[in-house]
């Protein structure tokens, strides 16, 4: 029996990495613009011939779940994401080989004082560590370089937007500003600070705090804020469901793509915490995935959650947010479709997209 192969794989050069990732992105764009619309057309034809109109995701599964087109669609969604993060040209191994340069760049000792608060005793909740979300090996929390991997991966989360992806976060800042310029803002589940950045950049007179579970992401968020010479933001390793801030500290509590990563009990706890943290008259503004107007949209979205290792996507989408928020003491609740890019909500929009939803609720003045 031959000895096991133990030598390290050869380093991947930047050009090959970029070419492979560009290939994957082109493949994902084809999936977004061609395969998904073809799947929807096929579904609509089958539904038109069906005795009973599909009402649930299970009804849709019964119609198209066994078709070769759907299986191929689902396979690609699962495995393009796998190739993006893992394997020879994956984001994880590529960044791991640059560990020696990346880790020192986010050393807290090299950051301005008070911009970052980490908790060495922090214990991650079990739901968070049990699955590697987004198929990111080790999740976004367990490896020092996880923030860099996540940041690179998130550049192509919504591939049809390309460079306009920033619009999404700017549009959330618009929604925050619609309630007046805030003075103190909490960004729950801020990650590496992509959602926080347009807030502290736009509201220069506001004090902005980002909290997250993941220290590697918080370090990168603080690094990016320091690079922007931002003086009105700080980042802290705290759980959104129990932040430790005093009652009535903030006039805006926001989050972007956080809620669907949490089990419903934790989501409810985060809403209760937001209510406690808001001043009277303060507003909660969350951007997430919730508006699923028909059975096909639900089937597609629930499947996306499974395939992208986001097990709470479906339970969150099924929550009756109006009732939950009313029960938590919020007065004015609005759950509305969110146009993440121009034309995204047009009836003729055929490409795959996330079911972006704006969730706004106010604490009574």
């Amino acid at each position: 029996m031959s000895a096991p192969h133990t030598s390290a794989p050869p380093a991947i050069d930047g050009r090959s990495f970029a070419a492979a990732q560009a290939f994957l992105l082109s493949t994902k764009l084809y999936w977004t613009r061609e395969i998904f619309p073809a799947l929807k057309r096929d579904y609509e034809m089958r539904a038109a011939d069906a005795d009973k109109q599909p009402e649930s995701a299970a009804d849709v599964a019964a119609l198209i779940g066994d078709t070769t087109l759907y299986r191929s669609y689902a396979w690609l969604e699962r495995h393009l994401q796998r190739f993006k993060y893992s394997g020879r040209y994956g984001l994880q191994p590529y960044h791991a080989q640059a560990r020696g340069a990346l880790e020192p760049s986010i050393d807290p000792a090299r950051l301005p004082a008070d911009i970052l608060e980490l908790d060495p005793e922090f214990e991650q909740p079990a739901y968070y560590t049990s699955v590697d979300i987004h198929q990111h090996p080790g999740g976004v929390w367990s490896d020092e370089i996880a923030g860099f991997v996540y940041e690179r991966g998130a550049r192509t989360t919504t591939p049809t937007h390309g460079a306009r992806h920033q619009d999404l976060h700017d549009r959330l800042a618009d929604a925050i500003e619609a309630g007046g310029a805030p003075e103190r803002v909490l960004d729950m589940g801020c990650g590496f600070g992509k959602s926080t950045e347009p807030i502290y950049e736009r509201f220069r007179d506001a004090a902005v705090v980002g909290v997250d579970l993941a220290a590697p992401c918080l370090k990168l968020a603080a690094r990016r804020a320091a690079d922007h010479q931002a003086r009105n933001v700080r980042f802290a390793q705290r759980d959104a469901t129990a932040t430790g801030f005093e009652d009535g500290t903030f006039d805006v509590v926001t989050s972007t793509m956080l809620l669907h990563e949490m089990p419903p009990k934790k989501i409810e706890a985060a809403f209760a915490e937001a209510h406690r943290l808001l001043k009277p008259g303060g507003r909660m503004v969350h951007l997430d995935f919730h508006h699923l107007p028909d059975a096909f949209a639900r089937f597609i979205h629930y499947g996306h959650g499974r395939r992208n290792n986001e097990p709470f996507m479906e339970p969150f989408a099924k929550m009756d947010l109006e009732s939950v928020l009313a029960a938590k003491g919020f007065d004015t609740v609005a759950v509305t479709p969110f146009e993440e890019a121009d034309g995204a909500l047009d009836p003729g929009h055929a490409d795959w997209r996330f079911p972006w939803t704006l969730i706004v609720a106010e604490r009574a003045a």
Binding site: A19, F23, G65, H79, Y89, S130, R306
Partner: protein, 103 residues
């Protein structure tokens, strides 16, 4: 609906069973192999293009000469290599043993 298995049923520490989408999991795996090869092909195309661009900049090759349709003599010279390539690929479909084994 795609035969999707639940994650986390194998063990807490070892690899977990990959999701399957086709009736025969072999199709899932062969597709993965195909995508891996396709990405390698694209990596090669990208590097070749970069190489040709550098060679053109250095006046080693003229891009037009590389891009032009080969003349019949050049096509004929590569025919045997092309035929061997095709045979290597497609003889897999014949289902014949390459060496004499059990009938």
């Amino acid at each position: 609906m795609g035969g999707i298995r639940e994650l986390g049923t194998d063990s807490d520490t070892g690899p977990r069973a990959e999701q399957t989408f086709f009736e025969d999991p072999a199709i899932d795996r062969v597709l993965g192999l195909t995508m891996a090869l396709a990405s390698e092909v694209y990596v090669l195309r990208d590097r070749l293009r970069a190489l040709e661009a550098r060679l053109a900049e250095a006046d080693v090759v003229a891009p037009d000469a590389l891009d032009a349709e080969p003349d019949p003599e050049e096509i004929a010279r590569s025919a045997a290599d092309r035929d061997a390539f095709v045979a290597h690929l497609l003889n897999n479909l014949l289902g014949e043993q390459a060496s004499k084994g059990a009938r």
